[in-house]
Amino acid sequence: MRKRSFFGQYNFSDSLLCKLDPRVKIVLVFSIVVFLFFVKTISGYMLLLLFSIFLILLAKSKISDVFRSLAPILFLLLFTVLFQLFFTPGKVVYSFFFLNVTSEGIYLATYIAMRLMLLSFFTFVLTATTSNIELTDGFESVISPLKIVRFPTEDVALMISIAMRFVPVLFEEATRIMKAQTSRGVLFNKGSLMQRARSFLPLLLPLLLNAFNRADQLAIAMEARGFVVGKARTKYREMRIKKIDLFFIFLFILIMAASIMVKRI
């Protein structure tokens, strides 16, 4: 019954990380991602890399899935690394035509590659162990202090949840429209760049129209089920911080402190 998710790779399992409070996971992953920019040593990054691998294994995820998660940022990763490698001024260690590889470039490229990889690994752990609805609830709770300034946190969270639910539906619809248009002679992957761009119009127009139609029908169905914007609602899902959450908070702080203090190499 269950198909692979298009958004994130939530893997329903009995892993320890799946049982953590989503708020704790969101705050910890966000903190460690920000923290990545303050680590200044390769050994610090290596420690964080080992920690991320430990979390991936704890999440009972496949390593192949982790590397697949890198695919969307692969171009960005390669471009940034090569740019830093060849265009950072400093002490030249290797020359290739007009391109100079400097020792500073090697350091910077390594740092940036590590940062992007670790960013991807930690967010992978979050999405692999937290369902969309848990993410939404956690996010809503994390931003709840904004209610003081009358920010509609519940509505924003619901909006994100619905958007996430419609991602696979829209993907399926896009595939269906593409097949229908292909059977009517539209060539999506032939011709010049301009021609290819133009050939996507017969896909985008019906997709957008259908999306608006769906949104309209969903709004009616939600209203019919008693949803009123801004009205207080009860919460079906329970979020409670347990001992295991506190243990992971402590572990993350410990690892972050260690990666800062570890000897520079």
């Binding site: 619901l158 949840s161 619905i162 969903l218 209203e223 949803f227 009123v228 079906y236």
Partner: protein, 270 residues
């Protein structure tokens, strides 16, 4: 009681989608509306729980006028609506979350919500799907989830707008039988909207709509035998009525039959 009192509604000025509609649905009563495309069926569904407000006339739900702002929410609690395409009704990422959505809106606390979801999902046979995504269920199962999402709110009236239109014949029959068995035990008033003639046989009352106007109201046995009426409303007559009518013309039998089993029994006994 849902009471449509001389109701007219237009999406665009001067173009009436429904005109001078009068009917009632009592608790425990199964009322069907049948009509072709553009007859105003879905407009009636939306008018019945205040999603649309009539420009002329009034819709009352247990004496509450849908025009009254103060009763707006209460009417939506009393009248549950299930629409044609379940995919466009799902809010939750899992079946359980989706069923819980309406309960959260009407302020039901977690413990009671859990009990209600457990009960309704086992009643509809969807308890094994509770933790899965509704997107990946079959058409019939999706529609059962949509029905459960509304029934769990324990409405007094249930409006079903062409809920079987996207289903195959087997799933259609299954969903319809399920609806009948559930509402019989719960004393819920049902407004069942369809263009499929077979589906109205078990109703207490049938309304025939054509171009936004009610052209006939009566018992299914009377309405379904009137082939001319159904044809003018743009819906197909029952095969049993068509065959028995031909047989009657040829003097083989004396009456028209709505129930095909009765016709078969008569022909076999002869």
């Amino acid at each position: 009681m849902i009471h449509f009192k001389d109701v007219s509604f237009a999406y665009k000025e001067g173009k009436w989608a429904v005109r001078h509609i009068n009917f009632t649905v009592n608790k425990g009563e199964f009322v069907s509306i049948i009509g072709g495309n553009g007859s105003g069926k879905s407009t009636i569904a939306r008018l019945s729980d205040g999603l649309l407000l009539p420009q002329e006339g009034s819709v009352f739900v247990d004496e509450m006028n849908s025009h009254a702002k103060k009763d707006e929410f209460l009417i939506k609690e009393k009248v549950g609506v299930v629409f044609q395409n379940p995919d466009n009704q799902f809010v939750g990422t899992t079946v359980e979350e989706d069923i819980a959505f309406g309960l959260e809106n009407i302020g039901i606390e977690r413990v009671e919500a859990k009990a209600r979801i457990k009960q309704i999902s086992s009643l509809l046979g969807i308890d094994k799907y509770l933790h899965g995504s509704p997107s990946y269920l079959s058409g019939g199962e999706k529609q059962k989830v949509a029905i459960a999402s509304v029934l769990v709110m324990q409405p007094d009236y249930l409006v079903m707008d062409e809920i079987t239109a996207l289903l195959d014949p087997v799933s259609r029959k299954e969903v319809l039988n399920l609806v009948h068995s559930i509402v019989e035990n719960k004393n819920i008033g049902v407004l069942y909207i369809t263009h499929i003639t077979e589906e109205v046989i078990k109703s207490d009352k049938v309304l025939v709509l054509h171009k936004g106007e009610k052209i006939k109201e009566g018992a299914p046995a009377v309405i379904l035998q009137d082939m001319k009426l159904l044809n003018s409303a743009g819906v197909a007559s029952l095969p049993s009525v068509i065959i028995s009518e031909e047989l009657r013309k040829h003097g083989i039998i004396d009456n028209s039959f709505v129930d095909e089993e009765d016709l078969v029994d008569l022909l076999c006994s002869n």
